[in-house]
């Protein structure tokens, strides 16, 4: 079997014993990876499993600490991304790196413009080359059109054209379909098939398992930085992928503490948020949380989970729907008012939304509850510091001094500060958006234990995650969202495959169109 595949799809790039160490974590452990040309090499794994790291290593963005990369049998090292591009490796990031104010042709050649004499940009040559690329990709996109006027799917094609313009023989696509409509996905798949026929080796990363099975020729599964399964796609099904992604030995998740749940503490009804792309980003969502209950909201990127939490936290003035806390309607339209009524949000992006980086640890901890230390106008710094110190102890935050800037802390400790800030407002419901993102395993386990303890104390927790293992292990009840809608509801102990298929309901639609 291996002989046959070697002939049809020769190995273009080979990694042997690849390892990559970041401060505190090992992102890749002795990875052996074969990238086959003229085929789609699918890479799958949970968040933090090492997919992005592996992909960045191939694209020259990151360098291995140990191990080798061979390109066409010759050992190479990529100094940076442009070095890798010279060797024919192109990458399309999930976040498109394009300029909406420039034309399609200008975008394709940005950074390596076609020039006369090194100064004058040869627009005509660029336009011609861009038109040729569009023809190769069988796209009807005008090279002179401003990029901002294109649909997101077309922009992605432009990004691919950009890589091809640098003669990419290896093309890495990171979650290329997360922002695409079903028809746009079809177009992308056709383009991928054409590229395959032209001998391009494609690395394809996605969370959408059905999509992987459909488009992939070879599959590699990563877990905790190690490869747990690697084979030809023939005969692969979702249970096989899930088993390799999650493994049998579960991580250190705290066991559910037996405790009684109280009555319903929080309910949302018919939350709708119109999407700028048309339709709804959040489509008539209703759910409820009981006292002491941890509800896990699972969904893929772009399913509308974060948007739902933002609607609940009054971030979208044009959203609609009703909220109830302990049965009483929540009419407050301001964040401050909602915090007062007992809501608290742990945002997904700690740096951007959760903390004021240049303020001290104390100031960040107390930012939402300053009123507690204020009489009239006067803020008692002493009472504030006492309370902050109490929460540092309670949350076991590792700090040298309360007066250091919060930016000096590690990710896990920063997250604890964010949680501490939320808890200081004495909430009844805690909304957590990806609470374990970007923190190391030890801190993760601690955060999970904290969540369990808070629930045992009667707090209702609604947490959003795209980590399958996390949602299965932590939730008392699992809700699944896709395309802004609630697509599944499972009790604790549900099977991974059920949850995953509820999260990807549009597979059939893709095949129909």
């Amino acid at each position: 079997m291996s002989d046959a595949s070697d002939e049809a799809h020769p190995i273009g790039l080979k990694i042997r014993n690849g390892s990559k160490i970041y401060p505190g974590t090992q992102a890749l452990k002795d990875v052996d990876f074969d990238l086959r040309m003229g085929a789609v090499n699918v890479l799958v794994g949970e968040n933090g499993a090492g997919k992005s790291t592996l992909m960045k290593v191939i694209a020259g963005v990151e360098q291995l600490n140990g191990g080798t990369i061979e390109l066409d049998g010759v050992e190479v090292t990529f100094a940076d991304k442009s070095d890798a591009a010279k060797h024919g490796v192109g990458i399309v990031f999930q976040e498109l790196n394009l300029f909406p104010n420039l034309t399609v042709a200008e975008n394709i050649f940005v950074g390596h413009e076609k020039t006369r004499g090194g100064i004058h940009i040869d627009r005509r040559a660029q336009r011609a080359a861009a038109a040729a690329l569009m023809k190769r990709l069988e796209q009807d996109i005008d090279p002179n059109a401003p990029l901002g006027n294109l649909r997101i799917g077309q922009q992605q094609i432009v990004e691919i054209a950009k890589a091809l313009a640098e003669n990419a023989r290896i093309l890495i696509l990171d979650e290329p379909t997360s922002a695409l409509s079903a028809t746009e996905v079809e177009v992308l798949f056709r383009v991928i098939n054409d590229l395959k026929k032209q001998g391009v080796g494609i690395v394809y990363i996605s969370h959408r398992l059905e999509e992987l099975i459909r488009i992939g020729d070879y599959i590699t599964v990563l877990r905790d930085g190690a490869i747990t399964g690697s084979r030809s796609m023939q005969g692969v099904d979702i249970p096989w992928i899930v088993a390799n992604m999650i493994g049998s030995a579960s991580k250190d998740f705290p066991k559910t503490v037996g405790h009684d749940m109280g009555g319903e503490v929080f309910r949302v009804e018919n939350i709708c948020l119109p999407s700028p792309a048309g339709g709804y980003a959040v489509d008539h969502m209703s759910l409820s949380v009981r006292e002491g209950e941890i509800v896990g909201l699972y969904g893929l990127m772009g399913a509308g989970r974060s948007e739902l939490l933002e609607c609940i936290m009054a971030q979208h003035p044009n959203s609609s729907g009703q909220l109830f806390i302990s049965g009483k309607p929540l009419k407050e339209r301001s964040v401050a008012g909602r915090i007062r009524r007992g809501l608290a949000l742990i945002p997904e992006d700690r740096k951007r939304d959760g903390l004021v980086q240049i303020m001290t640890i104390r100031e960040n901890l107390t930012l939402s509850s300053l009123a507690d230390f204020t009489r009239g106008f006067h803020l008692s710094l002493k009472a504030e510091a006492t309370k902050a110190a109490e929460f540092v102890k309670r949350m076991a935050i590792k700090i040298a001094s309360l007066e250091h800037p919060v930016s000096s802390l590690s990710g896990g400790n920063q997250q604890k500060v964010v949680i501490g800030k939320a808890l200081m407002t004495r909430p009844k419901i805690l909304l957590m958006d990806e609470p374990s993102r970007g923190i190391d395993i030890g801190a993760k386990a601690e955060i999970f234990r904290t969540m369990r303890k808070l629930a045992a104390d009667g707090l209702g927790i609604l947490f959003v995650t795209s980590d399958l293992e996390e949602v299965l292990a932590l939730s008392d009840r699992i809700l699944v969202m896709a395309n802004g809608r609630l697509t599944g509801q499972f009790p604790a102990g549900a099977s991974a495959a059920d949850v995953v298929s509820a999260a990807t309901p549009n597979l059939n639609k893709v095949e129909l169109s």
Partner: protein
């Protein structure tokens, strides 16, 4: 383990220089104050008559004006904005004050044959309200209509200056002696009176500075101003009412400018519509010199006051030494640039020290 290795390395590198690092850090932290002592000593030696009581009073009167504007500016900049309109608000408020002293409000437009006259207190109140009102307009443009602070206050810079010119059709209101009959003859006290040997204008500056420093450090309002400038989205999600905070800082800045307008028209006993031109730049300079970060979230009122003194002493001292005004301008620019460069150095050093302490 690699992490202990890294920590160990850091320790060995910095450990030997630790006391020197922290001394340097302290010096950098106090840099505006150090600069103040330096310029003061320099002129005390180099400029004759610099150290006389009379000269000190003159300098303090000059500094009070810039410091008042700079206090308001500091709040605005800490909150992540900028207020270019303060100079024009000074001009407009001076004209309003002059008009009220001279004419009161003529009720002719209501068909009534008399005018309302005001005493000094009433005139002050009206002028301060005018300043606050323009600040409120700035705040509304920035919060409700999403105009960038630079543009919004650039607009009001022109509008307020134009309004000041329209008030007198470009002329000066002379002889603002006031009228004992209306109780406005005390108007001159604001600019030229003294209390316990210090000019009233200096007392106003001190009072505003103390209130501002209290607001900044000991009230939730002050904390929220820093939070909005440090991370607006993060502050909003923490329940800070961002729009209200922004409205406040621009209104406060307008209030400070109105004080300056009052003081100047009273000092000169006349109102000229060009009063306050380019004052906004001096105010920004004092704030920056005092350690206020233009990217928001960082700054102290005390620093700003010291910054205003450095600029004021530099300007007056150079005049006394007979340095050409062209050179004065160059030197002022160099001092501002040096202040920001030193600020960057301090930031880097501070971050390194904190990292090291965490590693221990």
């Amino acid at each position: 383990m690699s992490s202990t290795d890294a920590a160990g390395n850091v320790k060995t590198v910095i450990g030997g220089h630790r006391s020197r690092t922290s001394a340097l850090l302290l010096l950098l932290h106090m840099r505006t104050f150090v600069a103040l002592i330096l310029v003061f000593t320099f002129f005390a030696i180099a400029a004759p008559n610099f150290l006389t009581m009379g000269n000190m009073l003159i300098i303090s009167k000059h500094v009070a004006l810039n410091a008042l504007l700079a206090i308001g500016m500091t709040f605005v900049i800490i909150a992540g904005g900028i207020d270019l309109s303060v100079g024009s608000i000074v001009g407009l408020c001076a004209m309003v004050a002059g008009y009220l002293v001279l004419y009161g409000i003529d009720l002719g437009f209501l068909g009534l044959a008399y005018s309302i006259q005001f005493n000094t207190i009433e005139i002050c109140m009206i002028v301060l309200v005018v300043g606050i009102f323009i600040g409120w307009i700035n705040g509304l443009l920035i919060t409700k209509l999403n105009v960038a602070p630079f543009i919004a206050t650039l607009g009001t810079l022109y509008v307020a200056r134009g309004a000041a010119l329209l008030f007198s059709e470009g002329r000066t209101f002379p002889n603002l002696a006031g009228n004992p009959e209306y109780g406005s003859d005390t108007f001159r006290i604001i600019g030229s009176g003294t209390l316990l040997g210090l000019p009233v204008s200096v007392w106003i500056m001190v009072a505003v500075a103390l209130i501002a420093a209290y607001l900044a450090t000991r009230t939730p309002l002050g904390r929220h101003i820093y939070a909005v400038g440090g991370n607006e989205r993060g502050a909003a999600l923490s329940g800070v009412r961002v729009d209200r905070i922004k409205l406040f800082v621009y209104m406060f800045s307008g209030l400070c400018a109105a004080f300056v307008g009052l003081i100047i028209s009273s000092q000169l006993q006349a109102s000229h519509p060009a009063t306050g031109e380019t004052f906004e730049l001096n105010a920004i300079a004092a704030a920056v010199l005092g350690g206020t970060s233009m990217s928001g979230g960082r700054g102290r009122i005390a620093g700003t006051i010291v910054g205003a003194f450095v600029i004021g002493i530099l300007a007056d001292g150079l005049i006394m030494m007979g340095v050409s005004s062209f050179w004065q301008t160059v030197i002022k620019g160099l001092v501002i640039i040096a202040a920001v460069v030193v600020d960057q150095v301090q930031q880097k050093l501070q971050a390194r020290v904190v990292l090291q302490q965490n590693a221990n």
